[in-house]
């Protein structure tokens, strides 16, 4: 039905993980995509170097929202520095149009099609870039 909006991506969009959750957080950062208008806030709680909770909120497109949902799903209970490394790889992978499921695992497959739409790659990158801001604030 749509090359970009595959079922798996839409599933995250429809039922996003970590969306609008009222969590106790150690860092909350906002990201903005001026080209697209996406706005997102990412909240992270870290205990003993591990992400214990992560959530997001904001007005964003389906790509941004699905990407944020995958981020929350994948990064919870992940060592903070490892999460940062995943974020770096995903952002760079979208930039260089790599296959994200090959790069990071099948959970990232819903974002594979995004690489074919360079103008939308920034939508998928935004949650992760915003997470990087949280990392910068809390980094060990």
């Amino acid at each position: 039905m749509s090359a970009l909006y595959q079922q798996a991506l839409l599933a995250h969009h429809q039922s996003p993980v970590g969306f609008n959750l009222d969590i106790k957080f150690d860092s909350a950062k906002s990201g903005h995509n001026p080209a697209c208008g996406d706005e997102i806030t990412v909240k992270v709680a870290v205990t003993d170097g591990v992400i214990t909770d992560i959530a997001f909120e904001g007005d964003s497109c389906a790509i941004c929202r699905a990407s944020a949902s995958i981020m929350c799903e994948q990064l919870k209970v992940t060592p903070f520095t490892q999460a940062k490394s995943i974020a770096d790889k995903l952002i760079a992978g979208l930039e260089s149009k790599e296959n994200l499921s090959e790069l990071l695992g099948d959970s990232y497959a819903p974002l594979n099609a995004v690489a074919s739409f360079p103008i939308r790659a920034q939508c998928a990158q935004l949650p992760w870039q915003t997470f990087q801001l949280c990392f910068e604030e809390l980094k060990p």
Partner: protein, 405 residues
């Protein structure tokens, strides 16, 4: 109602590919009819030279042609004379010249009045002046109609107002402002009135004298003329107060290493080589538009706009912005409830439908509307009912993908 365009066949882009094209983005740039492309091509092949410079026939003929087009443009907007017409690269450049060249804005005090619906091109230059001086920038809110709130405007204009700068037709709402009334008010306080005509010029007959404006700006690329041309109309009084901003060749009477004297008239605002190709395309575009209007384009597009509004309203789940009290002209912005404008535009693109999504260079207006972005459709001469039917097919896909689950 037979809403089939009699002009669509004039635009080769619709037949150059196996893929259909449903182009609903004319407010960004309108497409180019073959007659305009041919005029550009003929110019490049047979008439290209440097105008206003050479004594040889090729240059002299081009100079004459450009001056004839200046008169044609004056006629298009009912300016008193060709001496009121300044060529430039587009609306942005025209506003920039006024904002940076008008003597009264160098006084450092007073106020500038704009509306909340302005395109960034008619906001940022004024904002910059306010930031760098004691001049105050006053922003008039919009009434429920989407027009400038006139009682508020009356309160904000005073004898210290230097210039009022407003759009003739909002590039988001498609709503026409009561420029003649604004002009009257502006004159009572001795202020100048600049009208951003970028959108209106394609949709209605402009009469700068009836509007009572001092400046009127528009671009060729929204007038079926391709990119590169722009027009600034300036009244005689306004020209007398306007200093050139871009300095260089062709705009001087005499130059020595210590001082220079500018050319008289509008040529002093046209430093450097004029974009003759774009000006010739503009001429062809204006002729084409004039012919289309004689063939009923205005009524046709009004009917098609109403048809579109009716269809979108009947579709349901769509927020159409600011059409409660005013009839939009060929421009309609909306959101499909619970779906981001960029997702709508992407799905429509997969249906070969070209629309604009985002803030359309009018972020303050979107703040007023309480939304971050909108989907905008804008109609041109080539559009017909079929485009709107296809739009509905695309919107139905959006609904199924993003909502109906």
């Amino acid at each position: 109602m037979a809403l089939i365009s009699r002009w669509k066949a004039d635009f080769p882009v619709f037949t150059q590919s196996d893929q259909p094209l449903y182009y609903l983005d004319s407010a960004a740039s309108s497409l180019v009819p073959k007659v305009v492309a041919d005029a550009s091509y003929q110019y490049l092949l047979n008439e290209h030279a440097n105008s206003h410079r050479g004594f040889y026939p090729l240059s002299a003929q081009l100079t004459q042609r450009i001056e004839d087009i200046r008169a044609q443009v004056a006629n298009f907007i009912n300016a008193p004379s060709a001496d009121n017409i300044i060529f430039n690269s587009g609306t942005t450049a025209g506003i920039h010249l006024v904002a940076n060249g008008l003597n009264r804005l160098k006084s450092g005090s007073g106020n500038i009045v704009i509306s909340a619906a302005e395109h960034h091109a008619n906001l940022l230059p004024w904002q910059q002046i306010a930031e760098n001086s004691d001049i105050e920038l006053r922003v008039v809110p919009l009434a429920a109609s989407g027009q400038v709130d006139m009682p508020m405007l009356e309160r904000l204009i005073d004898d210290n107002t230097l210039i009022v700068a407003v759009t003739h037709l909002s590039n988001v709402l498609g709503v026409e402002n009561p420029i003649a009334s604004i002009g009257k008010l502006t004159r009572q306080h001795g202020a100048f009135l600049l009208v951003d005509g970028a959108q209106f010029a394609a949709h209605g007959k402009v009469n700068v004298q009836a509007l009572g404006c001092d400046f009127y700006v528009f671009s060729g690329h929204k007038l079926y003329s391709g990119h590169g041309s722009g027009v600034l109309f300036a009244s005689d009084v306004a020209i007398a107060e306007l200093a050139p901003v871009v300095l260089g060749g062709g705009m001087v009477n005499s130059v020595s290493v210590s001082d220079s004297a500018w050319a008289t008239g509008v040529r002093k605002f046209e430093a450097g080589t004029l974009n003759a190709q774009a000006i010739i395309a503009l001429s062809a575009g204006l002729s084409y538009l004039k012919q289309a209007e004689a063939e009923g384009a205005h009524t046709y597009l009004a009917e098609l706009t109403q048809f579109t509004l009716d269809k979108l309203s009947a579709f349901g789940g769509i927020n159409i912005y600011s059409v409660q009290q005013s009839k939009p002209q060929s421009i309609i912005s909306f959101n499909l409830e619970r779906v981001h404008s960029h997702d709508v535009a992407m799905v429509l693109a997969e249906h070969h439908i070209a629309v604009r999504a985002g803030h359309h260079c009018a972020q303050p207006l979107h703040h007023c509307l309480g939304v971050g972005s909108t989907v905008r459709i804008s109609l041109g001469l080539y559009n017909q009912a079929e485009d709107i039917e296809q739009l509905l097919v695309g919107l139905e896909t959006c609904r199924q993908l993003f909502i109906a689950r």
